[in-house]
Symmetry: C2
Subunit: 215 residues, 2 copies
DNA sequence: ATGCTTGGATAGTGGCACTCCCCAACCGGG
DNA sequence: CCCGGTTGGGGAGTGCCACTATCCAAGCAT
């Protein structure tokens, strides 16, 4: 199919597809002549994934490129590819280590992971800490600076809850053929984030109504 | 305190504070002379909240203004203020109702809410749907378009999990004095989002290691 | 008086995600 | 074979956003 048809079937403008091609988010089509190229179903599928990651998952174009590159790095084992892809996901500002509140937050996070029996820093000993761990530290620091408590005991219930979500995530991934695991894991990790946050806000509204309903 | 001291104590540059003042995120200081103003602890507290919402919670400046305006709208009841504030939180692109997949997603979401016993659309009957509900529909649509299943049965476990998180959220809010409930609810809703997502990614890594550890 | 700081206003910056436009190469009809 | 319309590549431009730099008059400190 031609660029125009790819555009029509995906609902993405040709200008935007050309931009993604330039940015390396999409492989170039098979060149038919010097000025024309042919795209296939794989391009369409990839384009839809790109769009979903960027628009729904709010991932910056640069990160999306890294994530997608990891997805199909044939030189890596399945586990390494998944790790690399999830590693490239956006994770907000790095903790400000000049702030003493950050040190406290780090201790809280470490103690939490230890109590949960998870790997310290989200990785094997000695390795750099996972971006998700840094994200957690940044958020705990901000909460502490605002005067909201964030002790291990406050965080633990949330961790238990996300542990359950992760089990459900992995169950869902395992429905697919092993060669699709990495893409499924990335897509489900990213695209279930708005689902989880949306459900949380709805659940809060419901619970709030239940507790404070007096009109 | 003067602008310079506010800047030093918050770690935010004077230029940025002036920008926030212009944008109405911060109340103007008490004018001392024609060219000087005095700020107090309340300004400092507010500034820290603004920074946390924008930097850690990734809320756009415009939304932050609306959220903060709702926080202290004296004309509204506590519940209405909270509703207005949470309503103003960012929620991604609106569902594309010209896409038939959106209609399916809407049906899935409705059925899910019904099964959970939550208000349809996250609101009272007839009222416009909550932004969080629209966010959910958008995400379900994107997943469906990518070929990932998103049936009611797939979503329900996540909803149960977030129901528990919401109970924990509200418990935490109730530790504060009633007059602080609204601010606490907003801060905890927004700032626990990175905590939850970070914990989920760490939990996934842990669960993945548990299932696929073979080195 | 003078030389610093202060705070308000305006204009500018850099990054990001597109989007416009031109051009040369192609394709199809007459 | 010619010619109008279409295609894809590429560079430049757009709009938005979150700041940031500069200027200026008014203060305060010595």
């Amino acid at each position: 199919m031609r660029l125009a048809e790819l555009s029509a079937r995906s609902g993405v403008s040709t200008a935007t597809i050309k931009y993604y091609l330039r940015e390396g988010l999409l492989h170039p089509g098979r060149r038919i002549t010097a000025t024309q190229a042919e795209y296939d179903e794989e391009h369409l599928r990839r384009l839809r994934l790109v769009r979903a990651l960027i628009q729904v998952g709010r991932i910056p174009v640069n990160s999306a490129r890294e994530v997608l590159a990891a997805l199909q790095d044939e030189g890596l084992s399945r586990n390494r590819r998944l790790g690399t892809a999830v590693w490239a996901l956006p994770h907000g500002p790095a903790p400000d280590d000049s702030d003493p509140a950050t040190a406290t937050a780090r201790r809280t996070a470490d103690e939490l992971l230890e109590r949960l029996g998870w790997c310290p820093g989200g990785t094997a000993a000695g390795a750099p800490a996972a971006p998700a761990y840094e994200m957690l530290v940044t958020a705990i620091t901000a909460l502490a600076r605002l005067g909201y408590p964030c002790a291990v005991a406050d965080l633990e219930p949330y961790a238990r809850v996300m542990e359950q979500a992760a089990v459900d995530d992995l169950d869902m991934v395992e429905r697919y053929a092993p060669e699709d695991h990495v893409e499924a894991a990335v897509a489900l990790t990213v695209l279930y984030e708005p689902v989880l946050l949306g459900l949380r806000r709805l659940a809060q509204a419901e619970e709030s109504r239940r507790r404070f309903e007096e009109e």
